[in-house]
Amino acid sequence: MEEALILIGGSQGSGIETSSLILSSALVRAGYGVLSNREYYSNIVGRHSYIHLRASSSQLPRSLTYPVDLVAALDAESVFFHFDDVRRGGFLVYDRDLSKTKLRGIISMEPESRARVEGKLKAIGAGEELGSLALALEGLGVRSIGLSYGSIISSFAEKLGIARAEAQRFRSSIVVGAAAGLLGLRQEALDYAIDRRFGRRPALSKANKLLTALVAEEVKSLVGSPLRLDEPSIGEEELLLVSGNDAVGMGKIVGGLRYQAYYPITPATDESVLHETYEALRVEGESLGSIVVLQTEDEIAAVNSAIGAALAGARASTSTSGPGFSLMVEGLGWAGMNETPLVITYYQRGGPSTGLPTRGSQSDLLFSLFASHGEFPRAVISSGDHLEAFYDAIWAFNIAEKYQVPVIHLLDKFLANMVTSMPLPDWSKIRIERGSTLFEANGSVKRFDKSSVVSPRPVIGSGAVIWYTGDEHNEWGHITEDPVNRLEMYEKRYRKLQLMDAEIPEEERAIYYSQGDEDFLLVGWGSTKGPALDALRELREEGLAGAFLQLKVFEPFPARLVSKVISSFKPDRVIAVEANIGAQAAKVVAMHTGHVIRKHALKWTGRPIYTMELVQAVKRLLAGSEREVMSYGK
């Protein structure tokens, strides 16, 4: 097979994240490209979670889709949830010991989900016991592989010479072994992945290797390796295996981050934890610098302390999600008023309010563009994938310092939590640009000198004496309500928007993917890029040629380029693809260009947009529908 789609399910806290990491590392080690998404509840232990993984022999995957080739379940709930996610001819690996488990016995499943699953069981003629479901699936062409996890654990415990209760800790490796067996993954790759995860604890490494090998052999003896992937042809010698949080975190570090403040919030915090882990920037005993990472008392302190650090000359940022950004909004305005280079990394999740705290969305684009009272320039950058997120994290700092504006780097939970095999960034593409930041200055300085749109910015500690205030101020940074000064100072700030628009190439702010022969256009942004490009590839195979316009920078908006691209298509052949209900990016396009995108493919269930549902949505939109709502995924 050219590629494999795998879903691993288990309760929160049962180890499936580690399982997924090991499986992904092993696949990458063996030469394959990997992309995986983690779905989980706002819960520590007990609720259903799963990993949805795509492995490819020919490319680095950029989207996920259904159905999958394999569902490997650690518990009964995962089978009940995902049995209809497997393709005909695909595989279900489950715990035979749970055959008598009834759907109604699964108390962790929410009543709405249970009712729906009941309906699905009835529809395929399955009883409410897991065993009956496995049998019914066989009738639908899904091969159910029932393993006795209990017996596996017993024989593993015996072989390793440990107590059975202790052996239970390794239970999540059963699904790794099962997937490895079906994929025909070589043991060396698996061992490498396990050592990578547990290398510092040899006993754990040994146990995991033994158990995965045991299960892989058992599965192979039952069905062989029917999901064996083709020889890989990707050709990378080394790859990073990173989440979106990791990619941004690494980008910021390379970009010179020296101060990161945060208040814990899903799905942003992992980035700050990475900064804390690497705060001493120690390479072979030598320190390349030091990052201050401050866990603050709230998001208000996070943003405002980051502004303070920026005033002192550190590249400073904070990372958050919707509820945290809501609290940061007043600080954002202060940064705008005081022309302070501040980077806010904003991982969108499902709102409003607490919303879907562990699920994704693209519903805060308009909020990030308009947040805070008054008018001031800002930059809003969104990244389409992990590698973009890495470069954009650096770009955000450069824009912030060059133009002395707050920059919002807009991401989402999808990207934050998806783990991908990413090529090492190209160092020739990385520049550090600090604009007119001054680290040496002398005495009184007009911080807001009106003779240029961007005034030289001596940092506090440079030797200058400067003033800042959130009130309207004169060139010295002292309060004034004088109308003529207001006229000029307000416009001085605002003109930075024009300056950014003039200086940052539009081609970097909107990316047009076209072969020149298309008759329809998808317009998307952020993590819709991957599914949009993959959907277009599938549609082209069916004779429908479409182009993709990725909106990347929303402020300053690349209006001329976007207008040119959109006007080259018939109005009824332009489709906005977004993970929200309001087609927010389409509204921004209309605001800046006058082009109204009338066709929308939307999703707001909190789950990623999957390629196959986007393909269907686009077909229906091209056939005349105005709005398609996607909703696949548990």
Binding site: G289, S290, A301, A312, I479
Partner: protein, 312 residues
């Protein structure tokens, strides 16, 4: 010379405002400590006290309501070589910004907080601040206050401030000495300043304070300094008890000093030694005119845990 710290911005506080005394004491303290204006940051929030930085010749950051400490925290951590002083009101620091007030104590970061306490929100015409006592009715209130006050000294001690003092705005030289001691102290320092609001507060006036205030340092046997870890609990408790004294006699002076606690800067330096060598804000982040300071090879080593060597 204190005049070195004056600016030519006209001070628009009400004639007779206690803030004049506070600014004068700050300017004198800075001068006597020989602080360079270029190495000093005065950070404020919103309200009458918020304007303080504009009247002082030093780096001035007039921030958002309640957020002075948050801004100051970032400035100090990015460049610990700076002297950072926060000047804020009672509403600013103990109402809207009280989370930051408490957090600073927990960190014991080397910042001095000067709290202007006049029991009212002056700039919005005299509403009750968090330090106004229950039952008080200054002339600006339509009815007596029905919220209990917070005790700044007790809150500071229990939050972890390691230098806690109270001064009086009209006793400029005494206040100056307290501010000097607070700045010289390494760690989070609070100087609460009792201050008449001549326009809106007709209860806590100059006359009210005149006969009640007494100096702790003149009390026989008063020793606020923690001299060994064993003394900590007792000295903290005594400071809190002393801070409850409010009536015929009101104490000013130093309530509590704990020179033994580790500062936040020391805590960071322990796990991140580079921090104490070059301030983060002053570290080079690029070389050769724009290359990142971290080379690709160093990136590979730094993040080796994330890199997989492919053996396809």
């Amino acid at each position: 010379m204190a005049s070195r710290f004056r600016t030519d911005v006209w001070i628009d506080w009400c004639p007779g405002c206690g803030d004049f005394g506070i600014v004068a004491a700050m300017q004198k303290a800075f001068a006597e400590l020989n602080i360079e204006p270029e190495k000093l940051a005065v950070v404020s929030g919103i309200g009458c006290s918020g304007k303080t930085p504009h009247f002082i010749y030093a780096n001035g950051v007039h921030t958002l309501h309640g957020r002075g400490i948050a801004f100051a925290t970032g400035i100090k951590l990015a460049n610990p070589e700076l002297t950072v002083v926060v000047s804020g009101g009672d509403g600013d620091l103990l109402g809207i910004g009280v989370a930051h007030f408490v957090a600073l104590g927990r960190r014991n970061l080397d910042i001095t907080v000067i709290l202007h306490n006049n029991q009212v929100y002056g700039l919005t015409k005299g509403q009750a601040s968090p330090t106004l006592k229950k039952g008080d009715k200054p002339k600006s209130l339509p009815a007596p206050n029905i919220q209990d006050p917070v005790n700044p000294i007790a809150l500071a001690v229990s939050s972890g401030y390691t230098f806690v003092a109270r001064g009086y705005a009209m006793w400029v030289d005494h206040l100056k000495e307290l501010i000097k001691a607070a700045i010289a102290h390494r760690g989070s320092a609070l100087v609460e300043v009792l201050q008449p609001c001549v326009t809106y507060n007709d209860l806590y006036t100059g006359d009210y304070y005149k006969d009640r205030l007494y100096k702790l340092e003149e009390e026989p046997g008063w020793d606020p300094v923690v001299r060994s870890p064993a003394e900590l609990d007792e000295k903290a408790a005594r400071a809190i008890v002393k801070s409850m004294e409010w009536g015929e006699r009101i104490p000013v002076g130093v309530f509590f000093v704990n020179p033994l606690a580790e500062t936040y800067e020391e805590r960071i330096a322990k796990r991140n030694p580079g921090f104490s060598i070059t301030p983060p804000a002053r570290q080079p982040i690029s070389r050769n005119g724009g290359e990142p300071i971290i080379s690709k090879e160093e990136f590979r080593k730094l993040f080796s845990d994330y890199i997989i060597i492919v053996r396809g």
